[in-house]
């Protein structure tokens, strides 16, 4: 597995130090190449790319309203096809708010129509760009500014991957920058498949997760190892595959590096561990077909 040496994402972007979303873009573009168009709804990346007249992405970017990433990307693809361009990849690049919450209608519609786009959700598990408010991607018991320590998030994280699987789209994958070869393979594969592809990236956010800037890769790796965020592929909504399956570690190891979980007790962590274990068992059953 060779990751391209070509840097398409330019330096000078304005992501925070340790931003998982910036690194994710860097690797995604290496895999996708320059013949790619990005549609970015309101999210951290609408800032990260840089203010007018600057742009760091190195490929065309269309900034769009919060809830409209998928339908706009589908429109871009249709516009290219109408002009005889069948080769350019169109990528919607949205955060968890724009995917799990406000953008889910357009995403669902686009997936149901199997529009030929790659939809990437870089999931930093809250509305980080507006100052860390809970989204439906925020994990159980996490602190955010709208789920304060005295009343942390009471609900489980929405299972976006299963929602997308229910659309029976040709390709779904999860990835993180801690496993760049796996991420690269998945983007290359997504590019080669016709129809709607959904890639779910776990994207650590040091200011929002109250973690150290230098720990983002470590946290990403622990998310996978603890099985909080398994690395998988789903073909046609039914063929499940675990692509990286390292020796497991305790969920506690993942959680204790993040200040957003500082208030939770060992009992709480036990409970989370049980949820993770149960989800892993369910996943294993699915991989058995």
């Amino acid at each position: 597995m060779k990751i391209s040496d070509e840097e398409i994402l330019n330096p000078g972007h304005v992501a925070c130090p340790g931003c998982g979303a910036a690194l994710s873009m860097r690797f995604a573009l290496k895999a996708l190449g320059r013949d790619t168009i990005l549609v970015i709804p309101a999210c951290c990346w609408s800032v990260i790319d840089g203010p007018f007249p600057y742009s760091s992405a190195g490929i065309p970017v269309f900034h769009m309203a919060f809830e409209a990433a998928a339908s706009t990307a589908a429109g871009v693809k249709a516009g290219l096809l109408a002009q005889g361009n069948t080769h350019t990849s169109v990528v919607a690049w949205a955060g968890d708010g724009g995917t799990f919450d406000i953008g889910i209608q357009a995403l669902s519609g686009t997936a149901e129509r199997n529009a030929d786009i790659i939809y990437v959700c870089y999931d930093n598990e809250a509305y980080q760009n507006t100052g860390i408010q809970r989204s439906s991607a925020t994990p159980y018991l996490a602190w955010t500014t709208t789920t304060p320590v005295k009343f942390p998030k009471q609900e489980q994280k929405k299972d976006i991957v299963e929602i997308m699987a229910a659309h029976r789209i040709p390709y779904i994958a999860t990835a993180t920058v801690a496993f760049p070869e796996d991420l690269t393979k998945k983007f290359i594969k997504a590019k080669s498949i016709k129809g709607t592809k959904f890639i779910h990236l776990l994207s650590p956010c040091p200011p929002g997760w109250k973690s150290k800037d230098q720990d983002s890769i470590k946290i990403s790796r622990l998310a996978v190892k603890s099985r909080v965020f398994p690395l998988i592929e789903i073909e046609n909504g039914e063929k499940y595959k675990i692509t990286v399956n390292p020796k497991p570690v305790a969920v506690k190891d993942y959680i204790r590096l993040q200040g957003r979980f500082r208030h939770i007790s060992d009992e709480n962590i036990e409970q989370i561990q049980k949820n993770v274990d149960r989800n892993w068992e369910k996943l294993l059953k699915k991989t058995e077909g």
Partner: protein, 387 residues
């Protein structure tokens, strides 16, 4: 070739003749037949467009925005609630300077549910940066769609072709269908100055600070001002090829009129009949049809009203807390006149209630008989004051 077409099917044929390359639309009564006919025309290969059958009007316009940004000619159609759902993206389309054309069938806003004609849906979008045409008949719908693409692509602003629910959308009229080659001659393929192109990467619509945003808005206003000339030039070019023209406004016997009636959309047709009849009785009445609402043809309206004493405006719409929207715009436009005519602001026909010949006669007579309106808003055709 003449063809019998309902207003909605006329819209579809207009989009086909204009060679819309991407169509994204969602059904809503009374616009549905636009979507159905386009689906049929695309399925039969008569229209060569990518047709995205979206899950909402918001996605319809989002897809058109994406397609247009990619350099394709994009079309959508909606009505009322659907247009309201698009509101955010109406701003986006204009702000992104994309020459999308849409048809909006004027329908009253809920609640209560009402599918009949009223202009409040589209007039409420007047500040979004869309050029707006209010059509009187099906031929004008077809011609305006073809013209709108040329105008929009010249000034880089989107256009909305507006037609009355049922009175046009479901009314069948003979429509002259121009040969495709003549339409192609009038409207060559869209060649955008900028588009999403990996060979020449640009970012569109990114963070614009206080340093730049203001100028971007200024340029939209300048483009709107320029659109007025472009609409007239385009109309003239259209006339040379197709021998039909519409103008920003149309004046009927205004030069010696003491009272001028101002109308838009299908009310104009009824008003033509009424003014003709009243002229025969010696009443110095004129008629002014406002076809283009944005950019508002203020100077043309001032010229048209320069010799009259009183102006009766019929609004099938309302801005709550203000009044009829055409009347309000006209009041604003005449401020520059030395001797201003008195404006009589009538509201009638909200929610599709008929505006009849006797009602229009009464409005005209009232205007002749009174020095000025007795009320701020002259409501006509109200049945139940205490419902």
């Amino acid at each position: 070739m003449k063809k019998l077409l309902m207003g909605n099917h006329t819209v579809s044929w207009g989009a086909m003749l204009a060679r819309a390359q991407v169509i994204a639309a969602y059904p809503i009564t009374p616009q549905t037949q636009i979507v159905e006919e386009l689906a049929t025309l695309c399925a039969e290969g008569k229209a060569k467009a990518q047709f995205i059958k979206v899950e909402s009007e918001h996605s319809a316009l989002a897809s058109c925005i994406g397609a247009s940004a990619a350099g394709a000619r994009a079309f959508t159609a909606t009505s009322s609630q659907g247009l309201a759902l698009m509101h955010e993206l109406l701003h986006w389309a204009a702000g992104a300077r994309l020459p999308i054309v849409m048809a909006n069938v004027n329908r009253a806003m809920a609640p209560g549910w009402n599918i009949w004609t009223e202009q409040t849906d589209s007039l409420a979008q007047r500040d979004t940066g869309w050029i707006q045409f209010y059509c009187e008949n099906n031929q004008e719908i077809l011609d305006s769609i073809i013209q709108a693409y040329k105008i929009s692509e010249t000034v880089s602003l989107p256009s909305m072709i507006v037609l009355d629910a049922f009175f046009l959308s479901h009314t069948t009229e003979p429509v002259e269908i121009p040969p495709q080659e003549l339409v192609d001659k009038f409207l060559p393929p869209y060649k955008p100055q900028y588009k999403l192109d990996p060979k020449e990467p640009h970012a569109f619509g990114g963070l614009s600070s206080t340093e730049y945003y203001y100028e971007l808005r200024y340029k939209i206003q300048k483009a709107m001002e320029r659109a007025k000339e472009v609409i007239e030039e385009t109309d003239e070019k259209f006339n040379q090829i197709f021998e039909r023209k519409y103008g920003l406004i149309e004046e009927i016997e205004t030069s010696d009129a003491e009272v001028i009636l101002v109308t838009s959309s299908t009310i104009t047709s009824t008003a033509r009949f009424v003014t003709e009849q009243l002229r025969k009785t010696g009443k110095k009445i004129g008629l002014l049809k406002v076809r283009v609402f944005r950019p508002f043809p203020s100077s043309e309206i001032r010229d048209a009203l320069s010799n009259c004493e009183k102006v009766a405006v019929i609004d099938r719409n309302i801005s709550f807390g203000s009044g009829g929207i055409f009347a309000s715009e006209i009041k604003s436009a005449i401020q520059k006149m030395g001797k201003q005519p008195v404006i009589f602001p009538f509201i009638a026909g909200l929610g599709g209630r008929d505006i009849t010949v006797p009602q229009i006669e009464e409005m005209i007579n009232y205007t002749f008989e009174n020095a000025k309106p007795k009320e701020e808003i002259l409501w006509r055709g109200l049945k139940y004051e205490n419902i």
